[in-house]
Amino acid sequence: MNTAGVRAVARVRACPDGRGGTCLPVLESDGPLALRRTRGRGTEAQVLLVGAMSGPLGGDRLAVRADVRPGARLRVGSAAATLALPGQQAGEARYDVRLTVADGGELHWLPEQLVSVRGSELLVTTRADLDRGARLVLREEQVLGRAGEEPGRLTSRLTVRIAGRTVLDQQLACGPGAPGGWDGPAVLGGLRAVGQLVVVRPGFEDKPVTARALGEGAAVLPLPGPAALVTAVAPDALRLRRLLDGASALFGPASD
């Protein structure tokens, strides 16, 4: 067992500051994961995830935890795309994201793309646990290889729970060594960018989102719960972002 990779856990916790805004009593950077508070809008706090070194590399174990307490609003982005790279160490890298949002809390988790570079091996797991009454906007984008490059091996699992009930559990495996057919016409069909946008709003309980196809590359899918998924595939990162941004606009302002 290889233990030479980097191990790091970055943490952020958002709480109401008592003056209508949001404070961050926990904001811990670790190793290659640096968290920086930036100017937020309105009552929300904004944090930027800044890669302090390249990675994840083979053998690394990286994790980010974000915890949003009742009434707090947090927006997390990243300064640049994350590159999964082959490391000196053999073996896969792991990147775990754990998000918790309490009743009345709101989290916007909007990192830049994850790029699976040739020769890399990465397992990403993102798990969002929401209390009833919590709100979430979560975007994930995976790009298979830099421009014109063969991708690495990427396995990505996304799980969303609301009040203990799993409303979404999906895993995508692609790249060399992934189970057969991943690049065929049922899964990615030669497209190189794939993304998910999850929106959870208590208001969807009474007014569920309507399922619809958005052209040939994306669909809006109401999940079993006050949640919706936009799943999208595109030839490249730019077109994927356009699809997800276009879909995002369909949900309208979060008033409920």
Partner: protein
């Protein structure tokens, strides 16, 4: 167990409504992504290792006695497309109707009582296997094979593909069906102790995207 019962359950002529579904092949043919035997094989291989694996694991877990309510919720979470969730429930209802006549059992009656609108088809398939005296691997084989045989026979109709070529595709995929069943049964056994989160969640983005578009087609040969 009776090996012949497996043949009865896996028979394409078993009256459970499967013939009305193409497993996404109609949409893929319409989009020009499946045009012949080679692309059909790629399509089926992708389907087998994603939704086929999930269906096989859910069916195996149901045959091992894992709570159908939890399995149905797990299948929901792994099927984000509402068009596919509805189709899976409808197929489950149709299978249950046939199964209760073929292999009357208390478990199947209880399932009908718990899910008046139908449970996901693989859940029903697993409980049916149990009622027919079959085991988890048999249930997984039915689900995994169905995940490729449906699109293959639909493509014969959709493209006028030579049925010999379609059968050749299925024969070439057989070793991978075996692998998928082994994985599915392994995770189903884990789920007995560890809960349904242990089940695989492999997804196929294009199947989901196209299922929603296909549901909106005014004229189509297949329901999915």
């Amino acid at each position: 167990m009776s090996r012949a019962a497996l043949l009865v359950l896996a028979d394409g002529r078993f009256p459970a409504g499967g013939h009305a579904h193409s497993g996404g092949a109609e949409a893929a043919v319409g989009a020009g992504r499946v045009t012949g035997a080679a692309s059909l094989e790629d399509f089926c291989r992708g389907r087998l290792h994603t939704t086929g694996l999930v269906a096989a694991a859910v069916a195996a877990a149901a045959a091992l006695g894992v709570d159908p309510v939890e399995l149905d919720a797990a299948a929901d979470a792994r099927t984000p497309s509402p068009a596919l969730r509805t189709a899976a429930r409808k197929l489950g209802r149709q299978l249950l109707r046939a199964a209760r006549v073929a292999w009357p059992s208390g478990e199947l009656d209880a399932l009908a009582g718990t899910f008046p609108k139908g449970a996901h088809q693989p859940v029903v398939l697993g409980v049916t296997a149990l009622a027919a005296g079959l085991g988890p691997a048999d249930a997984a084989y039915c689900a995994a094979y169905e995940s490729v045989s449906g699109p293959a026979s639909a493509t014969v109709r959709l493209l006028g593909l030579d049925p010999f070529d379609a059968t050749g595709v299925l024969a070439r995929l057989a070793p991978e069906v075996d692998e998928v069943v082994t994985r599915a049964v392994g995770t189903a056994r884990e789920a007995v102790g560890a809960g349904v989160d242990a089940l695989p969640a492999a997804s196929a983005p294009l199947l989901e995207v196209f299922a929603q578009a296909h549901a909106g087609w005014a004229v189509r040969l297949f329901a999915t």
